[in-house]
């Protein structure tokens, strides 16, 4: 198994669960002979894997953290691969009356004002990060929970921001997208989700969820994915050459075409970001 | 109605092997019965049935006039069991204190605390274990365990007490105590008692009536004088317990190979003095033991092997036998039996 062209990649669950990798990786192997061992986990954990040098490349969606990752020298370069978008989902009854609203921020504000049940992923994922930013933009009174973590002898603060009403109309569930959707559906609540997972749960199952897209299309809802090879200067053992080749293939016309051509249940999920 | 038990066609088998088969047996209320028989004869098996702890393979038990229903899962036999207590051959103690072991049965019968304490104190005194009340019951010595088991049963004042070898492992002093206890509760409380024993001498005075089991069946032999017996080189002679030569009486053919012979201790004639020539059915030896057993005298004659016979008081007085006296025993064909 001493194949030079095998790399390990940590990625977020969404790339794997959406089925994209199932078409992307075979195409990759056909073109370049590269085999990728995929380890799917939460965004935070995936980035952590990269930091620790356990993988050769990471493929995640948390732009700010990715940039920090490169800045701190753990990765060589962030390749902007693709994006999909977030949508605001809610029950058909739509108690907050946000259906058709183009802009996300007022829609969220309306949910808050009507005290309609909202499920937050609350797991510090890309989706959660986006949600927090949107809530901040509503101008509502926000609450911040801060917990202190001791790390390497230094205290570090981790904070969470959420609108007032936690535990009443705002539930933080701390789970992956799929489970959050299930919960929202079960409770007939509003939530913020990525389109891929939503489509899967809406059209890809024997028992589809009832939630509907109530607000979409706001540029603020874009969800960019990046791929970063791990810096061999930090972790000399990583298979940097192959990782770089992999990243470059992804942003090549061929890779981008595969991404743009991927259809889930007849719908496009990911939009290539590197197309010229 | 004075019948405590009436057993009919009672059979118990383990894995297809019939270990007990009693055609008919009636045990009367308020008496003491001794049950004898060799190892594996089925004594413990019978006790388990009489105590309603096992279900017979077939047959019926009538207890106190009531037919005992054949146990089905969930059937409640407590009604019967509460009247009969069995003391095991190797009694098992719960891993608590001596006190609590006895308390168990009393608690179950709803005896109040002061009553319990009083009863426990009393029965412990009966078996001379008062100082052990707070000791761990499962760490007692062999004989202490045996006595505790009896005390645990006595505390419950049962109508029927089944004692499987109550004096095995018990010291001489306490053997007498236990025998005394058994006859006392029989007398005072009218308790029906069955006990097994291998010690005829100890048990002799105690039982009103005795039974003998052999290979699961009631037999009329007294179970004394059973010897292993192998053929000697000569014709018509066998070796009792590989030691004593015995000329078989006329008309008595030995089965092939090793077998067991029974010399009936009541069907013989006894003469003083040795007989010089070996003759059929004749054994001689010297008297080694004389023991009063009710109205008769047990005489053990050392003929190489120990042979027991019984004499009536009158016969004994006539012969005036002493320990060490040489005697001749003469068994006829009807006194010899093959098992």
């Amino acid at each position: 198994l001493a194949n030079e062209k095998v790399i390990k990649m940590s990625t977020t669950t969404s790339t794997q669960a959406s089925g994209l990798l199932d078409v992307l990786l075979p195409a990759l192997e056909k073109d370049t002979g590269i085999q990728v061992k995929v380890i799917a986990k939460g965004t935070g954990a995936a980035i952590r894997d990269g930091r620790d040098g356990n993988v050769d490349v990471i493929f995640v969606h948390a732009k700010n953290r990715e940039q920090a990752f490169v800045a701190e020298g753990y990765g060589t370069k962030r390749y902007a691969v693709m994006h999909n978008d977030f949508v605001i989902l809610g029950p058909q009854a739509d108690g907050a009356r946000i259906k058709g609203m183009k802009e996300a921020v007022p829609a969220l504000k309306q949910i808050a004002d009507s005290h309609s049940l909202f499920i937050s992923r609350g797991d510090d994922s890309g989706t959660h990060t986006k949600e927090q930013a949107l809530w901040k933009a509503t101008g509502l009174q926000m609450e911040t929970v801060t917990s202190t973590v001791t790390k390497k002898g230094k205290s570090r603060e981790i904070s969470f921001t959420h609108p007032a009403g936690l535990g009443q109309w705002y539930l933080s569930v701390g789970q992956g997208m799929g489970k959050t959707l299930t919960i929202a559906d079960e409770k007939q609540a509003y939530t913020l989700a990525d389109r891929g997972t939503y489509l899967k749960y809406k059209y890809g199952r024997e028992i589809p969820i009832d939630l509907e897209i109530l607000s979409e299309g706001d540029p603020k809802l874009a969800n960019p994915y990046g791929v970063i090879p791990i810096n061999p200067k930090r972790h000399p053992h990583v298979n940097y050459q192959v990782a770089k080749e992999f990243a470059q293939w992804l942003v090549s016309a061929r890779g981008q075409a595969v991404i743009g051509g991927y259809r889930l249940l007849g719908k496009q999920l990911f939009y290539p970001d590197a197309v010229q | 109605m004075r019948h405590q038990y009436e057993l009919s066609q009672l059979v118990q088998s383990y894995g297809g092997k019939e270990v007990l088969h009693i055609d008919h047996l009636v045990l009367e209320r308020g008496r003491i019965y001794g049950l004898f028989g060799p190892n594996g004869a089925g004594k413990t098996t019978l006790f388990n049935l009489l105590a309603f702890l096992e279900t017979p393979s077939s047959g019926s038990i009538i207890f106190d006039g009531c037919t005992v229903p054949r146990s089905k899962p969930g059937l409640r036999l407590e009604k019967f069991r509460r009247q009969v207590v069995m003391v095991d051959q190797h009694p098992i103690m719960f891993s608590t204190s001596v006190f609590k072991n006895i308390e168990f049965g009393l608690k179950i019968r709803g005896v109040g605390r002061p009553g319990r304490t009083e009863i426990i104190r009393r029965v412990l005194e009966l078996v001379d274990l008062s100082s052990y009340a707070s000791a761990r019951a499962d760490q007692l010595s062999g004989g202490e365990t045996q006595r505790l088991a009896l005390a645990r049963a006595l505390a419950l004042s049962p109508r029927v007490l089944l004692c499987d070898e109550p004096t095995a492992n018990v010291d001489v002093e306490n053997q007498a105590v236990i025998r005394g206890l058994l006859s006392r509760i029989n007398r005072d409380q009218g308790c029906t008692i069955l006990f097994t024993s291998h010690d005829r001498l100890q048990a002799a005075g105690l039982a009103d009536e005795t039974f003998v089991l052999e290979k699961g069946r009631l037999v009329s032999t007294s179970h004394e004088n059973i010897f292993s017996c192998s053929a000697a080189p000569e014709q018509g002679v066998c070796l009792l317990q590989e030691k004593t030569r015995f000329f078989l009486p006329r008309g008595c053919l030995q089965p092939l190979g090793r077998s067991r012979i029974h010399l009936n201790p009541e069907k013989y004639t006894l003469e003083r003095g040795p007989e010089p020539t070996p003759a059929p059915g004749v054994l001689h030896g010297r008297i080694s033991l004389l023991l009063e057993e009710g109205e008769r005298i047990r005489v053990a004659v050392n003929t190489g092997t120990m042979v027991t016979v019984f004499l009536s008081r009158e016969e004994y007085q006539r012969h005036r036998l002493l320990i060490g006296d040489p005697v001749t025993l003469r068994f006829g064909g009807d006194g010899v039996e093959w098992l």
Binding site: G42, G44, I183, E186, Q188 | E78, V85, I92, T96, G105
Partner: protein
């Protein structure tokens, strides 16, 4: 590596800060685990007794089936229960999903086979003569069972403790049926999983250490209740 020491000091800090959030999480964990252990014991102990002592014709087969059930994965149990208590399920109207009770239901299904199998093992070994002695002393079936339990108490405690250990450290069911809702159904383990997913390993391990401390405390308590005597 050095996150062990870091975790350790975080754990201590967490405990001494008496963070109300932490307290809630601990409370939920303990409540759910204790209740499901209790329920599973109430179900599994008599069942195990019945299997070990009842004269069942297919005893061996039943035990084999029971043992196979020990491999029931939490995902399957989660989905199974979900099927029943989800809005569209048979018991949807009870509004059980994403409550502590839902976790308890799932966990009871998870550990009842474990409790039962271990009880069967613990009781099978008890000499039949204990039951016989109890019966001849006049015990009813129930009282006989009590005697056997007392003799088997160490094995039974081991069964219950294993079950408790299993549920308090369990994640899958708590996550799927509880939903890890902050303040309601977030348990120590789901909180830990969340921290892990966020990449904050230190906090995850710190929570783990807190959990272990609580488990130790529970065991010490249990040991005291169990009393002295032969193990």
């Amino acid at each position: 590596m050095n996150f062990f020491t870091a975790s350790f000091s975080s754990a201590i800090q967490l405990v001494f800060s008496l963070d109300p959030e932490l307290l809630t999480v601990v409370k939920v964990s303990l409540r759910v685990s204790c209740l499901s252990t209790l329920l599973a014991s109430v179900l599994g102990i008599p069942l195990g007794f019945f299997i070990a002592h009842g004269h069942l014709p297919a005893k061996r087969l039943i035990i084999t089936l029971l043992n196979s059930l020990l491999a029931l994965p939490t995902v399957v149990i989660g989905l199974f229960v979900y099927g029943f208590i989800s809005r569209r399920g048979l018991f949807g109207s009870l509004d059980l999903l994403y409550t502590q009770n839902a976790i308890i239901i799932g966990q009871v299904i998870l550990i009842t086979p474990l409790v039962t199998a271990l009880i069967v093992a613990a009781i099978s070994r008890i000499d039949e003569r204990y039951a016989k002695t109890a019966r001849t002393l006049g015990a009813t079936s129930l009282q006989t069972a009590v005697v056997i339990f007392r003799e088997a108490r160490f094995g039974i405690c081991a069964a219950v403790i294993s079950a408790f250990g299993r549920v308090i450290s369990e994640i899958g069911i708590s996550m799927m049926l509880g939903g890890n809702i902050k303040g309601f159904t977030r348990t120590m383990t789901t909180a830990m999983a969340l921290e892990y997913d966020k990449g904050s390993f230190t906090l995850a391990i710190a929570l783990g250490l807190v959990l272990m401390t609580i488990s130790l405390a529970m065991n010490v308590l249990f040991n005291l209740v169990q009393g002295r005597g032969r193990l």
